[in-house]
Structures are given as structure tokens and as C-alpha cells.
């Protein structure tokens, strides 16, 4: 069958919105009754005040710092006043990475966890995962949510799951071949890294036998996705989510944009300047997400700080959910440089699509006097020198200018000089505050 749930996935836009508003009202009611944090926060709002999506925008946005403050007042529970269930009902502890501050603890009950897993079943089914797949997960699971949902959902779909956590990269490559894995769950960066490592082992990644790959944890520009497809000889799919909001959008087999997982989530894509208006098709905006079926840790209007481009409403796959055509990065990764809005992911798109001779790269933003200066350090393939490098530099400058409206300094690094990333890439450094 094409759809995990044909009724839900082809429901009309009107019915989807009706479901979402119903569930939002119920969640608001539930949150006020069960969580001291929300009782206070929404004391001036009642579910019956919510009739349209515009009404929802009268409720305040929820930020990560709000979650931290709510958890600092912990009282008897590790999870603080935001917990929506009795502490004894919590069955799973997870936390955020803590890169932007103190980690947020995210509790799940058995019920809320199964709800999250169900969303992932949709995601895997859309990406073609079936009972005949043997899914390799090349990561160790831990306090972060990464890959846990995928594992449980793959089991529920009926796949066979091979957890590859305790092995190094070469060990994982060998194990994938040994067990004849057909599918992978990994980060974009690690997918590239494994392919590179396989080639060093004298193995063509296409011979490993992976037919489909679902990427997680970082943006996946189309050019990078196609590069992974070419390297692995597999279909490569993207999705977007987080520890707090869950996985809220994912790719279907058309592999052209992401479907918002309606009606599991009510998603608003708001303008970056005022956060008060839903953007039009083709516009960039910030995703504000409300997971509608999760009561352990109610999140209403959570500002994900993910910048996405609103996509079309229809897809050839027949699903009627709203779409995102692009994940542009994080709000905190966007930079105004000489008055121009810059997204690091735009450089990755260009390099992956047009410059296969570049092995690795890094973007550095610095202040030189009163001006911002942006430099692209690139590591070309080993056999390039002299004239070829000069031509590459000129071509890079010209294409970057066209793509970003910015003038870049181009610097070449020696082969192997630039850092290699395994889990998530960190190719952008803003040194202006340094």
C-alpha cells in the first residue's frame, strides 16, 4: 500500500485544519489542567477562544529559554512545572544537546512515546521502508533522542533493525555488508563520511547494497542529497524535527520538498521580522510547531528557530499536507553581512552541485576594520595545482557572488587540512565576536 494511513494522508485541507484546531483546543485544555506552567501562562486564554489559525497567534510563542525557566523551578519533579503527567507515568528520559545553554529535559510516557513512534512510521513508510528492509543504524543511542524513534518505528513497520553503535566506521561498513543491510538511518555528514571511508577501504559504496537512506540532524540541500544518492546508489530522504517538537516534516518518494506531518502537528511558518504573519508560498519563515498528541510534555507554539521555505500545497504523491520546499538552516545561523541575508547552507548547495572537485570546505566570517569579510576555505582534490587552482578560484568567486550576492575571499587548504566531521558538520564559523 502506498500510504501508511490513506484516510489521513489524503484528507482535504479543510478537514486537516479542522482536526488540528480540535486537537489544539483539547491540548490547551489539557495543558492548563495538568501543568502549573501552562495554567499560569495561558490564564487569559480558553480553548473556546480558538476558532481559527489566526486565533492561535494570540497565544504567546514558547521558546527554549521558557522551557529552561519552567524546569529550573523543579520542585518534586526533575521536569519542573511543565510536566503534563504524574512523574510516575514518565517512562523515558531524553534531553537536548545543550549547545545553546543548559539542556532541556524531555519526558515521555509510554503513550506519548508511541505517538512519536507513529509519526515516524509515517515517515519511514513515505520513504519506502518496508518489512523486507534490514535497517542499519550506525550510531550509539544515548540521552539524545536521535535514532531512537527511527529504530522503534522501523520495528513497528516490520523491518529488521541492526543497531551498529559499538563499532567504528570501518566496522560498520563491514557489518552492513555482512548482514546485507538494505537501509540506513544516519546524518548527512556521516553518510558522506562513510562513503569516503568505504572508498579508502577499496569498496564502492554502491556495492554495500543500501537501497534507501533517511537523513537526520542537519539540513540536507538537494545537491548534497543527490550526491549521497550517486555515492550510495540509493534513494536518500530528508526529514526535520527535534527533541522537543518531535519529527514534524519529511520527504515522500517524489523527493522534492518535505510534507508537514499533519494533523499530528499544527505548524505555522512565520515571517522572521515580526513572527506574526504566515508566509506565502516560496517565502522563508520560522517554523513554530505544536505537537498535538503528546501530553507528557505539552508544547504549544514552540519556536523551533528552524528557517524553512513554505512549499506548495499539492504533491504528485497525492498527499494533501502542506509542504516545505527547503530547510534553510537555523535562525541563529543566518547572518546579515553587509546588509545581505546569508545562509551557510546556500554555499553547501552550490559546492555540492557545481564543484565536485572540492573535497571539503569551511566558511569563516570575520571583522576587518569596520567591514565584515567572508572567506571560503576549500580543500581541492589532491591532483589540482597551478593554473587549475587559479581557474577554480575564479569560478568559485563568480558563482558565489551570483548565488549569495556576496564577495568571498577564496583560500585553498592542503589535502587533509580541513577538519572532517562525522556526526554533524560545523563548517561555518562567525569570528566577529571573538
Amino acid at each position: 500500500m502506498k500510504y501508511w494511513n490513506p484516510y489521513l494522508e489524503t484528507l482535504s485541507r479543510e478537514r486537516l485544519l479542522e482536526l488540528e484546531l480540535n486537537n489544539f483546543r483539547q491540548l490547551l485544555q489539557y495543558a492548563k489542567e495538568h501543568s502549573p506552567f501552562y495554567r499560569q501562562r495561558y490564564k487569559d486564554f480558553a480553548p473556546e477562544d480558538i476558532e481559527t489559525k489566526e486565533d492561535i497567534r494570540r497565544l504567546p510563542l514558547l521558546d527554549k529559554k521558557d522551557l529552561r525557566v519552567a524546569q529550573e523551578a523543579r520542585g518534586a519533579s526533575l521536569y519542573g512545572e511543565i510536566l503534563g503527567v504524574d512523574p510516575e507515568d514518565v517512562t523515558t528520559f531524553r534531553q537536548t544537546s545543550g549547545t545553546t545553554g543548559r539542556p532541556v529535559y524531555v519526558p515521555e510516557t509510554y503513550e506519548s512515546w508511541q505517538w512519536r513512534v507513529e509519526v515516524w512510521c509515517h515517515i519511514l513508510w513515505m520513504a519506502g521502508f518496508r518489512e523486507t528492509d534490514r535497517v542499519f543504524v550506525p550510531f550509539g543511542y544515548n540521552v539524545y533522542v536521535a535514532f531512537w524513534e527511527g529504530h522503534y518505528a522501523a520495528e513497528k513497520v516490520g523491518c529488521e533493525v541492526v543497531p551498529g553503535g559499538a563499532l567504528d566506521t570501518r566496522g560498520r561498513i563491514n557489518k552492513m555488508m555482512e548482514v546485507k543491510a538494505t537501509a540506513l538511518l544516519n546524518t548527512t555528514t556521516y553518510g558522506l563520511h562513510m562513503a569516503e571511508e568505504a572508498m579508502k577501504m577499496g569498496i564502492d559504496p554502491r556495492e554495500i547494497g543500501i537501497k534507501r537512506m533517511l537523513c537526520a540532524g542537519e539540513p540536507l540541500p538537494q545537491a548534497t542529497r543527490k550526491r549521497l544518492e550517486h555515492l550510495w546508489g540509493a534513494e536518500v530522504y530528508d526529514h526535520i524535527g527535534g527533541t522537543e517538537p518531535c519529527a514534524w516534516a519529511a520527504m515522500c518518494q517524489e523527493r522534492d520538498g518535505l510534507h508537514i506531518m499533519e494533523p499530528f502537528f499544527l505548524v505555522e511558518i512565520l515571517d522572521m521580522e515580526t513572527m506574526s504573519r504566515e508566509v506565502e508560498e516560496g517565502e522563508l519563515g520560522v517554523a513554530v510547531v505544536t505537537p498535538l498528541g503528546r501530553r507528557s510534555f505539552p508544547l504549544l507554539r514552540f519556536n523551533t528557530k528552524d528557517v524553512v521555505r513554505r512549499g506548495r500545497e499539492r504533491c504528485p504523491c497525492g498527499r494533501t499536507s502542506l509542504m516545505i520546499s527547503e530547510v534553510a538552516g537555523r535562525v541563529d545561523e543566518l547572518r546579515k553581512i553587509r546588509g545581505i541575508l546569508f545562509t551557510p547552507v546556500s554555499v553547501e548547495e552550490l559546492l555540492r552541485e557545481e564543484f565536485p572537485e572540492i573535497e571539503e570546505y569551511e566558511i569563516i566570517l570575520e571583522k576587518k576594520g569596520a567591514m565584515d569579510e567572508i572567506t571560503l576555505r576549500v580543500e581541492p582534490q589532491e591532483d589540482m595545482e597551478g593554473n587549475a587552482l587559479a581557474k577554480l578560484s575564479a569560478r568559485l568567486s563568480e558563482r558565489l557572488k551570483t548565488k549569495t550576492n556576496l564577495s568571498f575571499n577564496i583560500k585553498f587548504a592542503l589535502p587533509g587540512d580541513l577538519p572532517r566531521h562525522t556526526l554533524k558538520s560545523k563548517r561555518f564559523r562567525d569570528l566577529r565576536g571573538a
Partner: protein
């Protein structure tokens, strides 16, 4: 977009009724179990799946009942 046949919406309603029936049976089982762990914990697991089925089936049945079963 293809409009679902009436019998499909009928099937949806029937599935929704079955979900409610399963929930009632599980709650009865829970009561009979008197907190015996094997019953209590497994019933809890089943009720979690009911929550999921409500989202995907019962809620859809409820709103399509009101509107007469149209889809996109």
C-alpha cells in the same frame, strides 16, 4: 483528487467503533486485573496504541461523519 467511495467512509466508521470497543474491553480487563502487573502494564501498552489509533482513525471518522465524508 479521487473522492473516496461511500463504502470506504463506512469502513472508517466501523473501524472507529472497533477501536472504541477495544478500549472498553481493555479497561474492563484492567479492572479485572486489580493492578496485577502482567495485566496492568500490558493493558497500558494497548491503551497507548488506542491513543494512536484515535488520532489516525477515530478523529478522522468523527469529522467526516459531520461533513459527509469528503476528502481532497
Amino acid at each position: 483528487m479521487k473522492v473516496r467511495k461511500d463504502q470506504d467512509w463506512g469502513r472508517l466508521r466501523e473501524m472507529s467503533e472497533k477501536i472504541e470497543e477495544i478500549e472498553r474491553l481493555v479497561l474492563d480487563l484492567k479492572e479485572l486485573g486489580e493492578e496485577m502487573p502482567v495485566i496492568e502494564k500490558n493493558a497500558r501498552a494497548i491503551l497507548s496504541f488506542i491513543h494512536v489509533l484515535r488520532f489516525g482513525i477515530s478523529d478522522v471518522a468523527e469529522i467526516t461523519d459531520k461533513s459527509g465524508g469528503t476528502n481532497g
